[in-house]
Amino acid sequence: MFSRMAPRGRSGLGRSLAELGLLLLAILVLLDGTVLSLVAAISSESDTHEAKPVTHKNTSKKSFPVLGIKYDDVSVPFEIALWVLLASLMKLGFHLIPRLSNVVPESCLLISVGLLVGGILKLARDEVPPVLSDRIFFLCLLPPIILDAGYFLPIRPFVENIGTILMFAVVGTLWNAFFVGGLIYAVCQIAQDQYSDIDLSTIGILPCLLFGSIISAVDPVAVLAVFEEIHINELLHILVFGESLLNDAVTVVLYHLFEEFMDSGSVSAVDAILGLVSFLVVALGGVLVGAFYGILAAFTSRFTSHTRVIEPLFVFLYSYMAYLSAEVFHLSGIMSLIACGAVMRPYVEANISHKSHTTIKYFLKMWSSVSETLIFIFLGVATVEGEHHWDWIFLTSTVILCLVARIIGVVGLTFIINKFRIVKLTTKDQFIIAYGGLRGAIAFSLGFILHSEHKRIFLTAIITIIFFTVFVQGMTIKPLVELLAVKKKNEAKRSINEEIHTRFLDHLLTGIEDICGHYGHHHWKNKLNRFNKKYVKKILIAGDRSKEPHLIAFYHKLEMKNAIQMVESGGGSKLNSSFPSTVSMQNIQPKIQSPPSARPSERVLPQLTKGREEEIRQILRTNLQKTRQRLQSYNRHTLVVDPDEEGFDDLFLKKRRRMELDWKLKQMTNYLSVPRPQGSPTMSRARIASDSQAYVKPGAENVPTIQIDLASPQSPDSVRLLDEVVQDQGLTMSLPSSSRGAYKTSGKDDGRDQQTLLRCLSDPGPDPDDDDDEDYDDDEPVPT
């Protein structure tokens, strides 16, 4: 149902060869690793042998070593590089096998590969490298993923649902922790397993609670990995994902709290209250630290206009510093990272160049992707390593309790939350939220650094839970989503109408709130926006860009995207995008409501001359009585005589038009509707970014050229003549080549095509303040 069949046949054969090749390569890499480690062992011996002759240099002269092996010096980076290479090759391999990656989520495959690799390594070496040390995990592997998530966090849905998310993150996690911890303690006391070599009842309540707090947290890495593939609707995605990010604070506090209690041995009421306070400190402190670094980064980026190359570096460094600083004070590093990314993004993006923006985006994606792959592989490897303590009672009860706790927690919280929400969460939503509570590597790492005497059994249980959630829940969530017909992500492009109406609604709702005298969240949001605009943007954004409103930025982005798309789609003359941003439709209107002064409809774009005429003719023919009157007005450039008069001199007209066009081009007046906004970052990005593909030089007459006109046609390059006539290909711009007969009376269909074409194209009405009107004055002779 959800797998698409790979095309069989030659391409299938080719692909399977590629798969085989890739697998072979991967295996070679693996063997390399093992071989080299063996070589390392050998070489270390030979090195010592080498050392000895040196001391007896004067006695015996050794021949110059041409080829030697010195593995120790590079062993660590070598192995790291090898692991990363392996991870990337695996990722590559999975995507070459679409059937597999459709059924099994990537995370499962990676864990399996990790298991495999771990097994191989264990057999080959008989000692397993301590691969997933918690330091590597927390300091190197986790930050890129979180930064990627935080930087690209969709702010609007996140903030709109912040209440729900916080409820789930804080209250839900607390509930999970205490429920699981408490009940597992009860189970341990009750259970009397003769086969188990450890007496479960020795596990105290505090270790159980500690254990509960470790496995109660939903893991962002796992959630990201699985949810990315199921394309669920935005609301559910942000709910589960937001919860997984924000519950880090709770996890950190609980973990440290219970650890402290375990060490000190007793709990007092004061300690509990202090714990509560520390939770607030951890959460808010993390956010503040992140925001602080975010503002620093934004401020720094204001001055980077001369050193564009290192702009991405600032983003990464400040974010990493935010994370580390938070970790220093035992604050929540994840929340700090999220806050940093979210705070700095709007300002940094307004300041940096387009290329830096792309760089940041791709680096983040790359690092986070590699990190995620590595984490899962290491998870598999670490499973193989070390003795596990299989206690069936403990394990099964843990799994069951986790599930039950999650379900009860979600259902109970939703019941309360729905009282305050406008868009209620349905049962389907609740199910997905509950089912999407995956545990992952964070839980494992936290378990890894436990100092408890029952570490082994806890670790086994944690691994079991992780495997269960990732494999069972991860694999089945996709078919379940299909089965339950949960709303999927809306893949449609955001249209400009929707954007306009989003803004419109914002203002409308704020206004209504003001009228009702009700200080709702629109009111405060508006206040915040105004404050932002007035003060903060001026400080943090360089130059004039601080004034660019969101709508305009969105619009320019859209334009640019369309233009690039158009070029990339083979440069065909088919314009299927919002091309006519460069032209306005105002003079189409006079068909019905003919304005008393016919001036608005007079302006004709040079390249529309011929087509425009055709259209005008059609209009004229249908409104006969207005013809004479119209003629005077359409007189501007081209129609000097009544077009109904046959026997017109084609050549004269052609020549005249050509002359006008040349004149127009020389003038380069701002006849298109949008002047370049001063320093608009999006548009300046467009210019800088254009790899001169967007601007096609005009070739010979018969070479079809495309005109791409971004909304700011300042550079003369942006205007080209279209030489190709296109018929019946949807909305196109056409300027017939001069080889075509100028005024053959086009048939109705032709005219209609032109009409279709030009229905949405027009030239801008004359701006009343615009001086350009002078140029189109009838009296002015066209200079030759």
Binding site: I496, E498, I500, H507, L508, D514, P549, Y555, E559, Q755
Partner: protein, 217 residues
Amino acid sequence: MGALTSTPAPIEHADLSEKTGFSHRQIMVLHKRFKHLSDGDDVLRREDFLGIPSLKYNPIRKEIIEAFFNRRNFSPSRQGRANEIGFEEFLVVLSYFRPPCSKMTDEQRKNIRREKLKFIFNMHDADGDGLITLEDYKHVVEELLSRSGALGKETSRAIADAAMFEVARTVGHTDRDEFYEGITFEHFLKLLSNFDIESRMNIRFLKSNMIPGCTVG
């Protein structure tokens, strides 16, 4: 200022509650607000709205105020504009912003959607002829960008153009002649078909646990 008129009798409240779907408590609160805005009068005029301080930062305040006086919003059949409105009309206009009930049939949801979109359509359609022309739309965009100075005027033209172009694409090239005049309500519906207005266009009238009754009509 004189004595304030007494609050409407509970019977009227019940009527209004039925018609607009607000709860009694909400109606009482809104009635107090109405009195406050109208300075104790029985009717509201346009000038009364101008007295609201925070409204003056709003770029589309004119349209919002107009919407309260637009008879088409009171009931679908009426036309034209009023110069003063009573409490009932005030409530009717505000009822467009009621949050939807949790359980709605698809039919009800579609109706609510239609109503809310019709409200917005009426706001755009300044002259009330049932069509949004390019001028109207351009005006809307200009207002939205009016805080950005001269920058807005030219760009807003381009943005309005792009928006109209999208309309053409969405609607298809079938209704050629209609497009000349402007966007009809049906086009508008189609245009915003992806826009979940029924969950966005809502105000919480009271922070109470009174969920407004599900009177959809």
